[in-house]
């Protein structure tokens, strides 16, 4: 199995960065770094858009980011109805890397504030799917 294990419903079956899913199984959220020019990518990419090299290495998305923005969905697209309601967000890390994902249900709406500290944590979903979510550090 390749990339189709990512998220509640995946829309991509395979990718040259399929290993991202294996890393989630191992408890790591990983991005890629271009070995040629040093550009860092999250989500990971096989190919560098800065210098057009395809020689990339993995790095772990560790440390604390800040909540840049978010929204709570009260309606869902087909296939996600059972998850409602859920919050999606963008988190920005100190080195400028941004990550898109969901906010953990353990954080209440009232406790959400733009600028709050969050960390990315791998999670297991039903049906052997995997993902990551943002939690308090």
């Amino acid at each position: 199995m390749g990339f189709d294990r990512f998220g509640t419903v995946s829309f991509v079956s395979q990718s040259k960065v399929d290993k991202f899913v294996d890393f989630l199984d191992e408890g790591k959220v990983m991005g890629t770094k271009c070995k040629s020019c040093g550009a860092k990518y999250f989500p990971p990419r096989n190919d560098c858009a800065q210098c057009l090299s395809s020689d990339v290495e993995w790095f772990e998305l560790t440390g604390t980011g800040k909540l840049a923005t978010y929204s709570k969905l009260m309606y869902a697209p087909s296939g996600f109805e059972k998850d409602l309601p859920y919050r999606i967000c963008v988190v920005e890390y100190p080195d400028g890397v941004k990550a898109f994902g969901r906010i953990s249900a353990a954080i209440s709406d009232d406790d959400l504030a733009i600028g709050m500290d969050l960390v990315a944590v791998p999670i297991k979903l039903s049906g052997n799917q995997v993902a990551y979510e943002f939690r308090r550090p």
Binding site: F3, F6, G7, T8, V9, S10, F11, V12, S15, F42, P43, A68, T69, Y70, S71, K72, L73, M74, Y75, A76, P77, S78, G79, F80, D83, Y86, I88, C89, V90, V97, K98, A99, F100, G101, R102, I114, A131
Partner: protein, 384 residues
């Protein structure tokens, strides 16, 4: 360089659940534009068909439309940039005419969104973003724009009421536009008390899905002067792109593709935001219109809320915006939207906008966005 003009405009009524096929829907907008330009199909030298393809079973719709509209054997092809497809079609028509390939080109936009269910539609529209890294979290268009609304409110103190005021304005003009899908008024209380869709956006912050078609007939300067008593000239064209994924964005309080496209269009036209008499902006959500005020330079960043609070974007205000009801009330049939916006501004500049007319309008602007700010198109039109 010669001028390029618009010599005919048409659109179908924007409706929920069009009772006909896409070919019949397209015929309505096309026939109105052809009557407006007083042309026959054989006068059209090329056609550009614009829509988002995931709604229809028909593969390669350009071939179907050219046949149904009597446009064989002239060349025809398909242009897609989701919600801004027909503005991009205009850009291509302009290029073909400037290159001397053709002198009269039809830009035809359409969408029959009701071919699929509302939930399927949300899922497909959500897939107009990054399907590998974002869709697996359960995204949809309102949620993406809602994240921009949250950031705008947090950064600038914009309120849910400010956004609701934009809907109240749209609805006041939707009531007098006979082509609009939503023709009822909306009070501030009603807008603010509507159900949340994706916080902070509510039902009335979101545009209406609709079925519809539009058509713009574009001509060289020579042919425009020969064929039309009131040609409207394309003064400026701007187009830009931005990362499809939110992780690649530099800001959530505006759309960089719109700012860049506006800069290009103003520069090419030799005008500034203060010169625009009437504008059509891409208000797929209320926050999108708020950001457009600022991205187009009608207001400083963060000051867009003052425009709507002071009714400066109503007819009679400093810069009337979406006085045809906008996408919010007129409806947003993806591929037809840009053409409908261009039609509105063309009618305004010809003094033929009826109850929606902005008196003496000479320069108008169209801001048409594809996806959540993936594609930005800004077009500036003027009259003699």
């Amino acid at each position: 360089m010669q001028k390029v003009g618009i010599i005919g405009v048409g659109q179908s009524a924007f409706v929920r659940g069009y009772e006909g096929s896409i070919r019949e829907l397209v015929f309505e907008g096309f026939a109105e534009a052809m009557r407006d330009a007083q042309l026959k199909p054989q006068d059209i030298q090329a056609s550009i068909i614009c829509s988002a393809p995931e709604y229809d079973k028909q593969r390669t719709p350009a071939g179907l439309m050219a046949e149904y509209l009597g446009l064989n054997p002239q060349p025809t092809f398909y242009i897609e940039s989701v919600c801004s497809s027909s503005s991009m079609g205009l850009r291509v028509a302009y290029s073909m005419i400037q290159a001397g390939l053709h002198e009269v080109v039809a830009v035809i936009g359409f969408q029959k969104m009701s071919e699929i269910s509302s939930a399927e539609s949300q899922e497909r529209m959500g897939r107009g973003a990054d399907i590998m890294w974002e869709s697996p979290f359960g995204t949809m268009m309102p949620a993406y724009y809602a994240m921009h609304a949250r950031a705008h409110m947090n950064t600038y103190g914009t309120t849910e009421e400010d956004l609701a005021l934009i809907r109240v304005k749209a609805a006041s003009y939707g009531q007098i536009n006979e082509k609009a899908v939503y023709r009822k008024g909306v009070t501030l209380e009603k807008a603010l008390s509507s159900d949340p869709v994706s916080t902070p956006l509510k039902v009335f912050d979101c545009c209406a899905n609709a079925d519809g078609s539009s058509c713009i007939i574009v001509a060289s300067e020579k042919m425009a002067k020969k064929l039309s008593p009131k040609p409207v000239w394309i003064l400026g064209l701007g187009a830009a792109s931005a990362p499809i994924n939110m992780a690649g964005r530099t800001t959530f309080t505006g759309l960089t593709c719109a700012r860049e496209a506006a800069k290009q269009a103003y520069e090419m036209a030799g005008v500034g935001p203060q010169d625009i008499d009437v504008a059509e902006v891409h208000d797929c959500f209320t926050i999108a219109e708020m950001m457009a005020y600022e991205d187009l330079g009608f207001a400083e960043p963060g000051k867009g809320k003052e425009l709507i609070r002071n009714k400066e974007t109503y007819i009679g205000g400093k810069i009337p915006v979406n006085v045809d009801g906008g996408l919010l009330s007129k409806g947003h049939p993806i591929g037809a939207t840009g053409g409908s916006q261009l039609r509105t501004i063309t009618l305004q500049l010809r003094g033929e906008a009826g109850p929606m007319q902005v008196d003496g309008a000479k320069i108008g602007l169209v801001h048409n966005i594809g996806g959540v700010g993936i594609y930005g198109n800004v077009t500036i039109l003027g009259r003699d």
